[in-house]
Subunit: 341 residues, 4 copies
Amino acid sequence: MLIIMDPEANVENINKVIKKAEGYEMKVIVNKGEFQTVLALIGNENKIITPDIFASMDGVADVQRVQVSFPLVSRQLKKQDSIIQISPEVKIGGKNELIVMSGPCSVESEDGIIETAKAVKKAGAKILRGGAYKPRTAPRTFEGLGELGLRFLAQAKKETGLPIITELMDIRDIEVVCEIADIVQIGARNMQNFSLLNEVGKIKKPVLLKRGMSATIEEWLLAGERIINNGNEKLIFCERGIRSFDSKYTRNVFDLSAIPLIKQLSHFPIIADPSHATGKKSLVKSMSFASIMSGADGLMIETHPDPENALSDGPQSLKFHEFEELMKDLQKVHTLANELY
Amino acid sequence: MLIIMDPEANVENINKVIKKAEGYEMKVIVNKGEFQTVLALIGNENKIITPDIFASMDGVADVQRVQVSFPLVSRQLKKQDSIIQISPEVKIGGKNELIVMSGPCSVESEDGIIETAKAVKKAGAKILRGGAYKPRTAPRTFEGLGELGLRFLAQAKKETGLPIITELMDIRDIEVVCEIADIVQIGARNMQNFSLLNEVGKIKKPVLLKRGMSATIEEWLLAGERIINNGNEKLIFCERGIRSFDSKYTRNVFDLSAIPLIKQLSHFPIIADPSHATGKKSLVKSMSFASIMSGADGLMIETHPDPENALSDGPQSLKFHEFEELMKDLQKVHTLANELY
Amino acid sequence: MLIIMDPEANVENINKVIKKAEGYEMKVIVNKGEFQTVLALIGNENKIITPDIFASMDGVADVQRVQVSFPLVSRQLKKQDSIIQISPEVKIGGKNELIVMSGPCSVESEDGIIETAKAVKKAGAKILRGGAYKPRTAPRTFEGLGELGLRFLAQAKKETGLPIITELMDIRDIEVVCEIADIVQIGARNMQNFSLLNEVGKIKKPVLLKRGMSATIEEWLLAGERIINNGNEKLIFCERGIRSFDSKYTRNVFDLSAIPLIKQLSHFPIIADPSHATGKKSLVKSMSFASIMSGADGLMIETHPDPENALSDGPQSLKFHEFEELMKDLQKVHTLANELY
Amino acid sequence: MLIIMDPEANVENINKVIKKAEGYEMKVIVNKGEFQTVLALIGNENKIITPDIFASMDGVADVQRVQVSFPLVSRQLKKQDSIIQISPEVKIGGKNELIVMSGPCSVESEDGIIETAKAVKKAGAKILRGGAYKPRTAPRTFEGLGELGLRFLAQAKKETGLPIITELMDIRDIEVVCEIADIVQIGARNMQNFSLLNEVGKIKKPVLLKRGMSATIEEWLLAGERIINNGNEKLIFCERGIRSFDSKYTRNVFDLSAIPLIKQLSHFPIIADPSHATGKKSLVKSMSFASIMSGADGLMIETHPDPENALSDGPQSLKFHEFEELMKDLQKVHTLANELY
């Protein structure tokens, strides 16, 4: 149930509603919007607790039953875009400057990641990506440098000031990852690892939630709902392609209409990962253009000093000079998108 | 096998190669490019007929074995874009003005289609779409007006000058359809109706080939190859979304990366149909932007005078004023795309 | 709407109901069951025509609104299994002897098909399969012998007495195919070729309707409904595998639960094609067992005198001695299935 | 690389090969077969380490390069079926008595699970299933009783002697789960939770690995390979249906051909879960028959004292008397399958 408070409602009005709801053993999530406060009442929706119990209270403008199973991430709860602050300078969501996260699939060496950080920063990237823990389908393949990789990322951040995004795969690594990460990434294969979702729901860092390989839009939103439901309020969705019947030319099918759809259904931002979605360097440019033009709040693009010799995902990584050229074009696309939306 | 003739090669040189190839019972397709002629030799590729049989002939610059199963539609055959002339004023492919085909899913009345034709022309559409024969999953539902619908389309063309695109479903209708259509559309459900493909391969009209609901990129290209192989050289691909595991919010998954991919693999143009791909009016704007920005040679967008009361596909059809506003924005996107590609 | 007549109802009662329904511009389909007659009233279901209009008429036992979009193929219309008579000796559906259709993917020579017919008959097959017209994804590949292939099939039938099933792809071939075919097969790629479905709906021969590669259960039933709606009452469904995200080891995913599901939803029989469903000879035995045990009314199994040199589908074809051994085992499985269902 | 030792080879011969391989930094897995020992050499396969380095050593019969990416689970490593001992009385794999695991989706009460254990034991089930930790797509739904549920399962085991299978979702629960579970289940959503797979690879209990919702056969085998690679040698695969484009009538598509396929590709047993695969009680009987007849080493079937009021998965659960009847039929199917395979 959503309690939309009157713009004129005072703290006392709000507290009374909260107290009453808690008296019915409902959990209350408070959303202070620009104009008014909205209270989401979760749980214990039974026949006795009807909207009219709250409708006549002082300061209550409206009471709505929520139709969706994901009220906390839903646009119903919050009309305006949620903006996620990553660092003092960088935020994601709303009308902003172009946000591109770039770097290698996996951190391979200290020199390599620092060189990459400098190159992508120069080209205009706002966030450095790099995997220290890598999910790999086959055992006995390179699975990342682990904590050493995290230390190299920390060094790259120190030298360039770029915030870091890196993947968390194992609950037991949550502390070391949070020490250096500015955004904690949940990978596609873990989108329904509910234990992991519960835990990142308890931290204060922004979480980037990649879509599972065959996750429906609703399952994805519900995975986000689980994070928010645990108390974290900093969520970023990331479309990275879904599995289809055809993988001859592209690794996945890039479900681009998911971008405007998520923005219609949820107040949280969504970025696009054309590198993983297509798995093909030659498609990154056009799909980056299309992502921005479809309303994405940012991009994740893989770069590598030497893609041919990358330990993972070489075929989809750009060289630095290619990335630099792409970024110039992307600025133009971003400017037009800002004008048209 | 592809025989790339020298830019200096004369007609005699070319004829000698053709004659030799035909002596080996190979079919020869002649492609006169801007700079040079390329001959595609089809069939009878056996161990005896090796490239060196042709390599030393006068006027032959290079001989290449073709790796793909779709040589005629392939970029290997022709580096430059094929441009399909629709009417004296309208052509599709290459760097052109914005090409938008618009109109209702099905023609419902003479007044309705004429009103639509005028409205979409005013907004900037170059081609009128409208179904006279409608494929319907369920029997006993409205299946189009048939020949009457064709006559209404002819009238709309007469009044506005807009070229017509309409679907052909049944071989027996090929003559009546060709009488009024400037582009013959093959629908998704018929993409592997090989008899129908063979027949539209024998006509002179441009054919728009929609992607089958679960057709791989290769199957789609092969369906196009079949048309070209029958002698028609005017092909336009159309991405209209593919079937996925999730149809809760969108009718299909719009496989947008198919657009740059087809342009890499084939010399024929490709347009996008965001209306059918998403099935949702609220996604048409962003997906039209994204399509153009990903390099599409044009768009197909459904409009209807009164979407709420349309006999088919109402939920995805725009009203005229919505279409008009969209077209203004699309011009800007098209201008930028022309600059960046 | 279904009008269930009383077992005691006489012809006059029935005719009065029909006349009344026709007065409302409804189409009436008469189903004379073992115990009672059921009338299906199709079309013009509006608010005025309610069940009570018919409920009080003499001889009417019950009136039911049909919930499904495929009333004619539905179990609601007819509780008992429809049994399709193929030849004086062979029928499909209900509790019968084991029905196996066998033969090559495509008819390649007169001797070959006659040899095959004799071999499969000896092993216990009841019907000879063989393609004269073959749908092929790529042009310029072997597409069957056409009418010559039909003549060879006719000869094989003459020599063995086996009824023939062969595929119809092109409306224009319907007469020549019907001349020799005892069952007309509609292939997966044509399951939504609505013109073709309409035409086979007008013939008197049994039609075997293969499931489309990505057809939902409902779309498949609706394709069958279209055939019945055109007047043909002899329908056999055939599950042949659906497209999935994994084609590394099997050509398709064999959706075996479709078999009991179709039998729950429809009164028409369903057979299974483990050869096409798996595309792999080594899986044909186990999947034939499983098909029969899941309730299939028959099987279609590919055999070839020399699979290694078959012009199509060699990897999934059994040799004659393999087929003969399989048939012995299948008899046992069939006996147990008959006992347990 | 596989080193197939001579049946006559002695311990010293074997040790010398191991020592040499370890000298090349290769990991050695020893498989003592009935007739001979096979050594799997993993890692560091470079150009220098060729088969001939080992081929001439004493006691070496043959050296084979492994083509697959999953050598340890592969049939290449071990021709005969691996048999997994669950308890002194129960084992899975090879030719055995009928193995059925049954019980509720989730443990709801002590009385309920004990009642169920007694009922399914009486009907012939060999193993009790029941979830204490339940993966749920939506937060704020019943997620199982946790440790309390485990205690109830322990009590049911104490009273009936039935071994227990229950799901592990969170690495931190591994000890409490292993205390009571005889088989640790990894659910579909965690099939690529690599941290969890690594950990269950280090325990001694049998692991049942459900197929991921859109996992390819190869990804599934690789997930199993990861478990074995960590040292656990007790693996059971479980097919539980995959995601498709159609979920109107069944929850998943039951990929039954995966059963004979896994048995061809791997030496580990595979069981089928028709309850989850179809999500529909009315399909459980036929799909259980089909599973056994396709060669499955066992079944997992959901039962519940009161399906209508189950907290999860009621629509797919059998009542006890239905289960009892089914088990009688299944014995007949199992007997025939044992005869025919």
